[in-house]
Structure formats: C-alpha cells, structure tokens
Subunit: 104 residues, 2 copies
Amino acid sequence: MFVAMNRFRINKGHEDAFEEVWRSRDSRLKDVQGFQSFHLLKGAFDEDSQTTLYASHTIWESQEHFSAWTRSEHFRAAHKSARDTTGMYAGPPVFEGFSSVLAE
Amino acid sequence: MFVAMNRFRINKGHEDAFEEVWRSRDSRLKDVQGFQSFHLLKGAFDEDSQTTLYASHTIWESQEHFSAWTRSEHFRAAHKSARDTTGMYAGPPVFEGFSSVLAE
C-alpha cells in the first residue's frame, strides 16, 4: 500500500472555494489501474497563520501505480482547473509519499 | 471518516528499532468501537536533518470514536513501552487529525 498526500495551507475565508475546486475536478481516478481510494481531508485551523490544513489523500496499490498515474493523461486532466484561486493558497502544496510497513 | 496521524522524525540508524516498537506494542485496536484501520507509514529520508519521516495512520468511523479511545484503557496499554528509545526521536511527535470532506 502506498499513500500519496499533498498538504495545502488555505487562507481563512477560502475554505469553501478550495473544496469546490476539488469537487468540480475531472479526476477519473476510478479508471486508473492501482487506484484504491481518494479523500480530501480537512485538518485544524492554525491561529498564528490564519490558515486551515487540508490534505489530498490517495491510496494506491503500490508506489509504481502512483508514479505511472503521474505520467498519464488522467493526471493532466485532474490537475487542469479553470477556476480563480487568487488568495487561496498560503504557500505551495507539499507532497509526501508513504509506504505501509505495518498494518492492523 | 476521521484520520488520526502522528508524525515522527526518526534519526538515521534507528529506523528498524522504531518499527519494532510498533510491531511489538499491545494495541488491541481491533477491539475498539469505531476503529477501521491502522497503518504505520514510512515516508522519505531527509538529507538535511538525516531523519526519516514516519506516520502512524489510523482511520476511525468518526472523531468522537477516536476521542473516546484516547480516554480508554486500550489507549494507555498501546502507549506503554518498555523499550529503550534513546537517540531514536529527532523531536516530539506531531499530531494531526483530519475529517473527510470529499471521497472517491
């Protein structure tokens, strides 16, 4: 199992618009080999930076399946957005990939 | 769905011992109401800090189920360790809780 996460810091007041970007995208993940599940996760609000932590959280059968997806047409389609995201992001997304070493 | 993650920075050379701490713990998570899955995840090695990112990754039916577990005997049992962890941690664990806002 491989978990691909992208962490986003979203400025206060832009939370709904950020979620709408994800809701309206054309992901077609279910058609991709090795895809298991996707969740958009909402974390805590940080008082200091006035941002909310979000994470896209995708589970793949293996890291190889994830890598193949990032080189595909499906990937380009999922990351194409016509929406205005001005002021939404407090910084660039931070990618983290994880492999499972123990399961219960 | 609620995802509870604890992030750990493990010093180089202590990776196997850290994984063994998790392998040998008495978690009994499967007996806990609202528990869905647990994975210990291994992320990337960071050259600057010479540490590996790990995350414990537990999925719960709801945040309320997770909170109830943290107040239980099961929780205390799972976090009791007789092992020597000197030099293992580059810092304290960082907790992050997430609620799912979108699923595919």
